[in-house]
């Protein structure tokens, strides 16, 4: 039993601990802010999507440097990036978003590669009235009332399925097996492909959804590949796709395999993990920039890479920073509540088509209307924040190399 003296001490301690948060708003703990305009950048440097973060971070830094060197925005104010690792995790991304908003006072949050990171940060951004620009595909990111604060710089998940399904029909496959990771953006892709196959009179021999982080996928592989469809669509992420393809090779299954580039390429990591024999003949699809567009060519120069180099996600980050700068300049304000309303104006036009952010900023400062064409796409948006004009690339792995086949829009 607690001694009376200790009990009083305990109650006083608890009372003080509970009272102190109530006293906090009355303490004047404001600190001086610099004239720099902070932008929060949450990217996956580790975790399932860790392969993509570093290049996206580099794109963000170079774009920001370009804008700052050309005079910044709003009378010479410079953009300042705060780049953090989202660890491909929803709760980490939510904590990061809070840090960006409450510590660094960011009005623009960019990056957000994965669907869980985007979904967990979405309510925080809307509540705090800051703009969130994501590279996530899941339809639900932009569903409902986002109040104009959530913008997707990526093709919607259902559109991925539309392009893949159409390609399967063109290839003439009569029977298809479908397997996919239990994941918010993969399920709509799977359903879209299955519906198209069934709708065009083809046979879906079997379809299954598997769980992540399993020690083995042998049972799933046996079930889908065992029915000997002509082709199997395997919508995965890198770790599980490596495991699945090794099982397919070991089992001697002969069905062709179609996947996504985030699994079957992943910046070369898939080939490194399985070797050319296992990877031979796999076709993979991924939304990508139009590499023939002047905006993309300008971006590759910015990154110091040859024009032939393909960047899947970094152009999105470039466009996110560029659109933020343009919209702020057009609104003459750094407050998201003002400049979020200008995103459609600077991206969709009407106005002069321009793919160079420096030129675009000069025009906006001069009071002229622009229609910004980005590096990752034409940067046109619907009113709900979904991007238009992004297409999908198709590759095939042959002799240990990824060979580009085609580029197609939904």
């Amino acid at each position: 039993m607690i001694h009376i003296k200790n009990r009083r001490k305990t109650i006083k301690t608890i009372g003080a601990a509970v009272a102190s948060p109530i006293a906090m708003p009355f303490l004047n703990l404001a600190h001086a802010q610099s004239s720099n305009i902070p932008i929060g950048v949450a990217l996956p440097m580790t975790g399932n999507a860790g392969a993509y973060g570093p290049d996206m971070a580099e794109a963000a830094k170079r774009t920001t440097e370009l804008i700052n060197k050309s005079g910044g925005i709003l009378g010479g104010r410079k953009l300042q990036l705060f780049i953090e690792d989202s660890e491909s995790s929803a709760s980490v991304a939510a904590n990061l978003t809070q840090k960006f908003i409450n510590v660094h006072k960011c009005q623009s949050l960019v990056g957000y590669w994965g669907t869980p990171e985007g979904l967990s940060s979405r309510p925080i951004a809307i509540q705090n009235k800051v703009v969130l620009m994501v590279s996530s595909a899941a339809n639900s990111i932009t569903e409902g009332d986002t109040q104009g604060y959530v913008w997707r710089f990526q093709m919607k998940a259902t559109d991925w399925g539309t392009v893949i399904g159409r390609s399967l029909q063109k290839m003439g496959y009569k029977s298809v097996g479908v397997m996919g990771l239990q994941n918010a953006f993969i399920l709509p892709i799977m359903r879209s492909v299955e519906d198209q196959m069934k709708g065009s009179g083809r046979t879906v021999t079997d379809s299954l959804i598997y769980n992540p982080e399993q020690p083995s996928y042998r049972a799933e592989v046996e079930r889908i590949f065992g029915k000997k469809p002509e082709v199997v669509c395997c919508f995965s992420l890198l770790p599980d796709f490596v495991s699945i393809m090794k099982e397919v090779y070991r089992g001697g299954f002969t069905s062709k395999v179609i996947s996504l580039s985030i699994a079957a390429d992943s910046e070369g990591k898939f080939l490194q993990a399985v070797g050319p024999q296992v990877a031979e003949g796999i076709r993979h699809f991924q939304p990508m920039p139009d590499t023939s567009a002047p905006g993309y060519k300008r971006f590759t120069k910015l990154m110091g890479a040859p024009e032939s180099k393909l960047f899947l996600f970094p152009p999105n980050t470039h466009d996110q920073i560029a659109v933020t700068a343009l919209a702020m300049e057009r609104a003459k304000s750094v407050q998201a509540v003002d400049w979020s309303k200008q995103i459609i104006n600077v991206c969709n036009g009407p106005g002069e088509k321009v793919d160079d952010i420096v030129e675009a900023l000069k025009l906006v400062r001069a009071g002229k209307a622009v229609n910004f064409e980005g590096a990752g796409s034409t940067c046109d948006f619907t009113n709900s924040g979904d991007q238009l004009g992004r297409g999908m690339g198709q590759w095939i792995i042959e002799n240990g190399k990824n060979n580009f086949i085609s580029y197609e829009k939904p």
Partner: protein
């Protein structure tokens, strides 16, 4: 910055309650629970489902979630009565935890599957003005945390607490002294389950969006670290351990501002190293944790 400290303090509150639950079950009761992540998810999802799908109030949802997790924990302890060795019991709890996590991931109709559940309202958010709401929220969470510590301390210092420690040290001896092992184990695990359900509900209210990826096994790792660093068996120590883990996790993000030239991709690697090194140092210099378990002493 103040708002960020307040928000991280909120995370510390429910993380500490989760660690308290583990400390109660394992530190005091000797029943290690590797299924913590799955049970935590059960608490969070139960609370969210009651609020979003059945339109129940936050208090009744929280209490029901606590009860559900408690019942599941009691069931686990009853069916594993024969599995008295710590290692085998740990494996069973791991299996249960994984089962729960997979149910949450795959039952789209109930849990939203991989998409999760969003739009979870915070208690009294429509009544209290938004500019001071977060401080009220923190005050409430701190109160709940200290209330839990107070109650757990009373239990730990009671006759039941002595029974728990006896079972932890040697359950055969405890049984020969007439202690009802089945009843005691069920109570230990069930009381811990109440705390896990509470922590899960608080997690759901804080993030307002829950999905299966938030309840991976790293949750168990952090809880174990908090218990070991704080002092196994010590409730206040566990709170200190939770604060230490949060400081390492979130405080290391500010290293970029201290170390010039540290790139963002380098920082993510350095953070993970710092967290590991920090824990190793704690174990070297404080192998029994920061605080000792309460022991009644005669002077």
């Amino acid at each position: 910055m103040l708002s960020f400290i307040v928000l991280m303090s909120l995370v510390i509150c429910f993380s500490a309650i989760l660690a308290l639950a583990l400390n109660f079950q394992w530190g005091l009761g000797g029943m290690i629970n590797f299924g913590l992540a799955g049970l935590y998810a059960l608490g969070a999802y139960a609370c969210a489902i009651f609020i979003l799908k059945l339109n129940m109030g936050f208090l009744s949802s929280t209490l029901l979630a606590m009860l559900i997790v408690s019942l599941v924990c009691a069931l686990i302890s009853i069916v594993t009565l024969r599995v008295s060795e710590e290692d085998y019991f740990a494996i069973v709890t791991l299996g249960v935890g994984e089962m729960l996590r997979l149910v949450v991931l795959n039952e789209d109709w109930l849990t939203g599957g991989a998409l999760g559940l969003s739009g979870i309202p915070r208690p009294f958010s429509s009544i209290i003005p938004s500019d001071i709401y977060i401080y009220f929220f923190l005050a409430a969470y701190v109160f709940v945390l200290f209330f839990c510590i107070f109650l757990i301390n009373i239990l730990a210092r009671s006759a039941f607490g002595r029974t728990m420690r006896a079972i932890r040290e040697d359950d055969v001896v405890a049984a020969t002294l007439g202690k009802n092992l089945l009843w005691a184990r069920a109570r230990i695990f069930a009381i811990g389950g109440l705390l896990i359900g509470l922590a899960g509900s608080m997690h759901a209210f804080y993030y307002q969006y829950i999905d299966p990826t938030q309840f991976s096994n790293i949750v168990v790792a952090y809880a174990i670290m908090a218990v070991i660093a704080g002092g196994k068996g010590s409730n206040f120590g566990v709170v200190i351990g939770s604060i230490l883990i949060m400081l390492l996790l979130e405080g290391s993000r500010f290293l970029k501002e201290i170390i010039p030239g540290l790139g963002s991709d380098q920082l993510s690697a350095v953070r993970i190293i710092i967290i590991g090194v920090g824990l190793i140092l704690v174990l070297i210099y404080k192998p029994n944790g920061f605080m000792k378990e309460y022991r009644l002493s005669v002077q």
